[in-house]
């Protein structure tokens, strides 16, 4: 983490430097899993990024007279609307026993499916997954829908009628509870709760677990239900787009952007230290080189107008990776398509990259995926890993008229075939929590 680069060197620090600590192992991403609005596997997601195919739709549950929000970016091929998981329909390859499913909300189930993909992608054997050197960090907002169902049932029918698995299916730790139990994880595990920065925090701390030698392998999971009860409560704070055209609803950096489009799903990253990856003959996507975080200290829900915390997070991440701003080829922006948030991030980018004259490509893949809240950081890191491996830069879709306040940013409107080597991924959450992650091609 950024602590490796002291801001001020005193006498004690100088003395300590004489004994050189052992080199930290590199941390590599060796497996990916996706259940998203733009595809339920890495190949489909890559095609969507290249073709700028978005996942937005006129979402049937929103089509009510009293609901001004009409568009969402639902996960495809899954129907998880019922509070009873035994009613769900989903692809046959994820067939699962009732006793596994009963403690899951939609987000946890998406995570379970993405986990299966990531394990397959990384070619991990059972022994590789269930041992004390392998942990799991997850991020999710829990399942508001199931929590609502549970509380309604409790009030209507009495406390003894609540499902015994209601709590573990509903509260914010549901993804880690379920995956740790079902995949028999024995190493470090916990959940992260910094709203839309959650899974970036999970990734950063998972990277540190490996770099510090505490774990050899970590699963990083971001997941959200992405349904009425997880998305619509954001309408009250006027954070959601009221567009009715799916192709125009999410348009980060556009002058007419009017809010984000909610989505759900899951992304799973497999992180391993370089020795473990080499031992297994794994094919890494990229290295998680460093990360940085900082807080705005400003407002419970509104970004700092100058993007102060995000700028500090990016600076720390670059310093921890020993990179200059000019070394970064591409930035996957947090930009969710809200008027205030995108502007704040543009200012943070200007503050960090402007003075050196560096003009990295900047795009927001949320124009295609929608905003996945706790899912966002892990998902976008996964998208960056695909871009690094395959050599392309995802375009920033749906910009009809670029916001003049972002005119100095180097924003590609189309996906470019272009080998890239160093990528920065930004995430910002409520309370002004900001995380920046540096990925390097291996």
């Amino acid at each position: 983490m950024d602590a490796a680069a002291p801001l001020r060197i005193g006498r004690d620090d100088a003395a300590r430097r004489k004994t050189k600590p052992p080199a930290m192992p590199k941390v590599l991403i060796t497996g990916l899993g996706f259940i998203t609005s733009i595809g339920n596997d890495a190949a489909t997601v890559t095609q969507s990024l290249r073709a700028l195919r978005h996942g937005m739709a006129v979402y049937p549950p929103f089509q009510k007279a009293d609901c001004p929000v009409k568009i969402a970016a639902p996960v495809k091929d899954f129907d998880t609307d019922s509070p009873d998981p035994e009613d769900w329909t989903y692809p046959a390859r994820y067939r699962v026993r009732r006793e596994v499913l009963r403690s899951m909300g939609p987000g946890a189930f998406y995570a379970w499916c993405a986990m299966r993909q990531a394990i397959e992608d990384a070619r991990l054997a059972e022994d590789d997954i269930s041992n004390e050197h392998t942990g799991l960090y997850a991020a999710s907002g829990g399942s508001p829908h199931l929590f609502g169902h549970l509380l309604n049932k409790m009030h209507a029918q009495g406390v003894m009628r609540c499902s015994p698995t209601g709590i573990v299916a509903a509260i914010a730790g549901t993804v880690n509870f379920n995956l740790v139990a079902q995949f028999k994880i024995q190493g470090a595990s916990t959940g992260f709760s910094s709203a839309c920065a959650s899974s970036s925090h999970a990734l950063g701390f998972a990277r540190d677990e490996i770099a510090l030698g505490r774990q050899k392998r970590m699963f990083v999971v971001g997941a959200e239900d992405g349904n009425t009860d997880s998305i619509l409560p954001f309408a009250g704070m006027r954070a959601l787009s009221l567009q009715t055209d799916p192709a125009h609803a999410s348009r980060p950096f556009d002058a007419a952007r009017d809010g984000f489009v909610g989505t759900g799903g899951a992304a799973v990253l497999v992180l391993e230290n370089e020795h473990e990856a080499a031992r297994r003959g794994a094919r890494p996507y990229c290295e998680v080189a460093a990360w940085g975080q900082a807080s705005d200290g400003h407002n419970v829900a509104i970004s700092h107008p100058e993007g102060r915390g995000l700028a500090v997070a990016m600076t720390r991440a670059l310093r921890a990776a020993a990179l200059d701003p000019a070394d970064i080829d591409y930035i996957n922006a947090h930009a969710t398509s809200t008027p205030i948030g995108d502007l704040s991030e543009a200012r943070a980018l200007r503050a960090v990259f402007g003075p050196s004259g560096a003009r990295p490509l900047v795009s927001s893949t949320k124009a295609l995926t929608g905003h996945g809240l706790s899912l966002a950081g892990a998902l976008e890191t996964g998208l960056c890993a695909l871009a690094l491996r395959d050599g392309f830069v995802p375009g920033s879709a749906h910009i009809t008229q670029l916001d003049p306040a972002c005119a100095d940013l180097n924003i590609p409107r189309e996906t470019q075939d272009k080998p890239i080597t160093r990528v920065l991924n930004n995430s910002s959450g409520f309370g002004g929590a900001n995380v920046a992650i540096v990925l390097k091609k291996t």
Partner: protein, 413 residues
């Protein structure tokens, strides 16, 4: 999405909350939206988690195990149900049937028909079919055939794979369908389908169910038994009025397996009889034979005297889980005779027609068994008492009795 269905109070037995229910649900929605104004979805759940988590875990600990108390049917058992207390006026019989069918939608048609017939007639004869049908619905499909044909011996945990969470799902659905409340205390020790049937039958006939079997984990067994490791062959046991059941997993580390046989470890038949004898000793210590004058059996005064009709059906090896059971056949101070059986899974391993122990009572007026000093050595199962009272020396003697069972709620939360 399906909220409207959720808000519909589906059980008409809870009228006292019904008026408030609609309002509560609406309030809950509003609260969710308000919270989200200020923070993310994670904020909503985090804020709400404290109350429901603690209350739910507290409440689910209170509910356990399957089946129905039929207090509402006979009105003689004292269990007052909410159905008796106040029916919901707004519900029509058609609503009732629709709700019931929805609740039982994953049960067999036979179960649904039995439930509808029960609702119409309140005839207790339908209850066993309902309960078995509900249990079946929660059992994985590949295990369901075990429930066919009576299935009294089928154990809820070992044979049907029902864990404590599934057991609570069964309880909740049973309560809803039969419109009864099931009390934790009366159900804690139900371990087999037979137990369940007996429990229901007693409730319906308005007689108190048999005293629940008492479950003893290995620590408690070691604390009361004269035999001690490495000569204790019970990992767990439960002792009820009708008999005792125990389990022993052959580890392969048993000292006698080194020589029995060379390169071929087989549990000696004599040791299997010893294990059954130990279970009978435990049953005596736990008071399975009603004593005169409230005297307690002296653990240090129990000795083997004889056994009859021993038949071994199966070789038992390391890794096998022995399921032992003994039932008292007759007892007259100072002798108590049991019948016994050992199974491995569904396979019969050992049957003993009679195992007879001599025993004495503790205390100043206690008598010693006349056979005590002359315990016959005709059989290797002779059980020797420990040289000192183990209860005082076993550090785990004070271990709480709560253990994982079908009736135990998860403690985490």
């Amino acid at each position: 999405m399906t909220d409207s269905a959720d808000n519909n109070p589906s059980n008409n037995g809870f009228s006292k909350n019904v008026d408030a229910a609609g309002g509560d649900a609406a309030d809950a929605d509003a609260a969710g939206a308000d919270t989200a104004d200020g923070d993310a979805a994670s904020g909503v759940t985090a804020a709400a988690a404290g109350g429901p988590t603690s209350s739910a875990s507290g409440s689910t600990t209170g509910v356990t195990t399957a089946t129905a108390s039929s207090g509402s049917i006979t009105a003689t058992t004292g269990a007052i149900t909410t159905a008796d207390a106040a029916p919901l006026p707004a519900q029509t019989p058609e609503d009732d049937e629709a709700t019931l069918r929805e609740s039982l939608k994953r049960c067999s048609p036979v179960t649904v028909e039995a439930a509808l017939a029960f609702r119409a007639t309140r005839d207790p004869a339908f209850v066993p079919a309902i309960v078995i049908g509900i249990v079946e619905r929660f059992v994985e499909p590949d295990l369901r055939p075990k429930l066919k044909g009576g299935a009294d011996d089928v154990r809820l945990i070992d044979d049907l794979g029902i864990d404590s969470l599934t057991m609570m799902e069964i309880v909740i659905l049973t309560e809803e369908v039969l419109q009864v409340q099931i009390h934790n205390d009366e159900l804690r020790n139900l371990r087999s389908i037979g137990d369940v049937k007996v429990f229901i039958d007693c409730k319906l006939r308005g007689v108190p169910p048999p005293a629940p079997a008492r479950f003893l984990p290995v620590e408690q067994i070691a604390a009361v038994m004269p035999m001690q490791p490495p000569f204790l062959f019970l990992n767990e046991a439960s002792v009820g009025g009708a008999g005792a059941e125990g389990k022993y997993r052959i580890t392969g580390d048993e000292f006698f397996l080194q020589g029995h046989f060379k390169d071929n470890p087989v549990m000696p038949a004599s040791m299997m009889l010893e294990a059954l004898g130990q279970l009978a000793v435990l049953a005596l210590i736990e008071g399975i034979i009603p004593s005169e004058d409230g005297l307690e059996v002296d653990p240090a005064a129990i000795y083997f005297t004889s056994c009859e009709g021993v038949r071994c059906h199966r070789i038992c090896r390391p890794g096998d889980l022995l399921s032992l059971s003994v039932k008292p056949k007759r007892a007259k101070m100072p002798l108590a005779t049991f019948e016994g059986q050992i199974r491995v899974g569904q396979e019969k391993a050992v049957v003993v027609e009679e195992i007879t122990l001599a025993f004495g009572y503790a205390g100043p007026s206690a008598t010693s068994p006349s056979a005590a000093g002359t315990a016959p050595a005709e059989d290797t199962t002779a059980a020797t008492p420990a040289s000192e009272a183990p209860a005082a020396t076993t550090p785990t003697a004070a271990t709480p009795t709560a253990t994982e069972s079908a009736a135990t709620a998860p403690a985490k939360g």
